[in-house]
């Protein structure tokens, strides 16, 4: 794969490129992610507390809060604001449930042009799909281990 004119091996070249390339501002990104992710959680907590305040049971209040955040994520995606937030917030807006909502609505909007079934329907879970597959798989494994532990005890 090496080039006769370049006096570097593939490995040397990749090290050289690594040293040359501008790095992502990690500290800044982490800080912004912490603030924005935390902010989304605070919004969730406010909704939950408000619900409890109005006499809704805490179990139901959490569900209402979750649904509200999912809606918020989807709505901000639809008005093309979530991607703009994401550029600053990074993982802070990817990890919370609003990010999950964004990852489903974004491809849904994008692939609508190929029709509702093979476009939108088939591609809606393109980004969220892997999260679901491995999330469910992990929970099954954890559940199984938990069950084994109960048996042993």
């Amino acid at each position: 794969m090496e080039n006769d004119k370049i006096k570097m091996t593939v490995k040397e070249y990749s090290e050289y490129v690594e040293s040359k390339s501008a790095k992502s501002p990690i500290i800044k990104n982490i800080f912004l992610a912490f603030i924005s992710g935390g902010l989304i959680c605070v919004i969730g907590q406010i909704i939950t507390n408000l619900c409890i305040n109005y006499g809704i049971e805490s179990k139901d209040a959490i569900i209402i809060s979750t649904i509200s955040l999912i809606f918020l994520g989807a709505f901000l995606t639809a008005v093309n604001l979530y991607s703009k937030i994401g550029k600053y917030a990074g993982a802070g807006s990817v990890v919370p449930i609003t990010g999950f909502s964004n990852s489903i609505v974004a491809p849904a909007i994008e692939y609508k042009s190929e029709g509702f079934v093979l476009g939108l329907g088939a591609n809606m879970f393109k980004i969220a799909g892997p999260v679901l597959v491995y999330g469910i798989l992990t929970s099954v494994i954890v559940g199984f281990v938990y069950w084994l532990m109960l048996l042993v005890r």
């Binding site: 004119k5 370049i6 040359k20 994401g86 550029k87 990852s103 974004a106």
Partner: protein
């Protein structure tokens, strides 16, 4: 006639009679905005999908090219064109309506110079008297094919580049045409070079070795020095890629830093957020050459340029399978006659 290892000398020096460039909103707002013929502020260009919009950008550039010269579609012998989309649909659907014999090309971001090379060879051989070379790309259609949906909120690393929305088109004619315009003197088709880079967000690093290989080969074959050219113009190496290219040349004992320019670095204001390392895509070289550099040549602010467009020949499938990015660079020397 072939000279040296890879270069072809065009004895009858085909002329680039006219060019035309159509670009989208971000490019119009950039530092080169005033040079483009058609500036559309709508990424959809009034169409329903981004793919159709890309076709329309190409149609606009070609229609404008013909309009500038007062020509009709049936005056054109052949058209060489390509884009980034699977099966080159942007070009295919655009040229469907034009009724001109068509060669579809895929050279990733190197397509424009590939089109120029083949068109000038056709003219040089006498196979036609009016041949169009064109290439297009579109930020939104490229994002959805190669990366994430647009509305997905994610961050890009600083080495990532932004695909240029637009199209450039050039009309090549035989030297017998009387108008005094820039001519194509030498062309150097490139070899595929792969230095093992796998990061789709660092195309500059993947393509710089290809640009280096082609530039050095061209200079050797033509026995020219870098200073012979007023500018050696690469397509879309961006900030990192440019640094790497200049370093590689220096290591080889050739200094191109004084004459090197990169369309990807010049098309956008890189201080703005999201521009990261600069522009990329077929339209980067196509629109910047057709809009800006061709004007500079015509007005004799530049007299001898080497255009080198680089392309990364990977797909999301090959990247998914863990392959590295094979890259290519094609070069064409375009000069004013004295």
């Amino acid at each position: 006639m072939k000279i040296g290892k890879q270069t072809l000398k065009l004895e009858s020096t085909p002329k680039i009679l006219e060019t035309s460039a159509a670009v989208g909103p971000k490019e119009s707002d950039g530092p080169l905005g005033i040079y483009f013929d058609i500036k559309c502020s709508d990424v959809f260009y009034g169409e329903k999908t981004f793919e159709k919009a890309e076709s329309k950008y190409m149609k606009a550039a070609i229609d404008n090219l013909l309009y500038k010269l007062n020509l009709q579609n049936d005056n054109i012998d052949y058209i060489f064109a390509g884009d980034l989309l699977n099966q080159c649909i942007a070009s295919g659907y655009c040229i469907r309506d034009l009724n001109i014999p068509f060669f579809g090309l895929y050279g990733a971001c190197s397509t424009f110079v590939e089109s120029i090379i083949l068109s000038s060879l056709f003219i040089n051989a006498g196979y036609g008297t009016k041949v169009i070379a064109s290439a297009s790309s579109h930020f939104c259609s490229a994002e959805r094919q190669f990366r994430m949906p647009l509305e997905h909120g994610n961050q890009k690393p600083p080495t990532a580049q932004s695909t240029v929305t637009g199209c450039g088109a050039a009309l090549l004619v035989p030297h017998t045409f009387e108008k005094k315009v820039p001519v194509v003197t030498y062309v150097t088709p490139g070899k595929i070079v792969d230095m093992g880079i796998k990061d789709m967000n660092n195309m500059g690093a993947a393509m710089a070795p290809a640009a280096f290989d082609t530039i050095i080969t061209h200079l050797k074959d033509t026995e020219r020095k870098p200073e012979y050219y007023d500018a050696i113009i690469t397509g879309d190496l961006g900030v990192e890629g440019t640094d790497i290219l200049i370093d590689l040349c220096k290591d080889y004992g050739v200094d191109i830093s004084k004459v090197h320019r990169d369309c990807g670095k010049e098309i956008y204001d890189l201080t703005k957020r999201d521009m990261n390392a600069g522009g990329s895509g077929c339209a980067c070289m196509a629109s910047v050459f057709s809009g800006y550099f061709y004007q500079e040549l015509k007005e004799k602010r530049l007299n001898r340029v080497l255009i080198v467009a680089t392309g990364a020949l990977m797909s999301p499938i090959s990247i998914g399978q863990g392959e590295s990015i094979p890259s290519i660079a094609h070069a064409a020397a375009i000069e004013n006659e004295v």
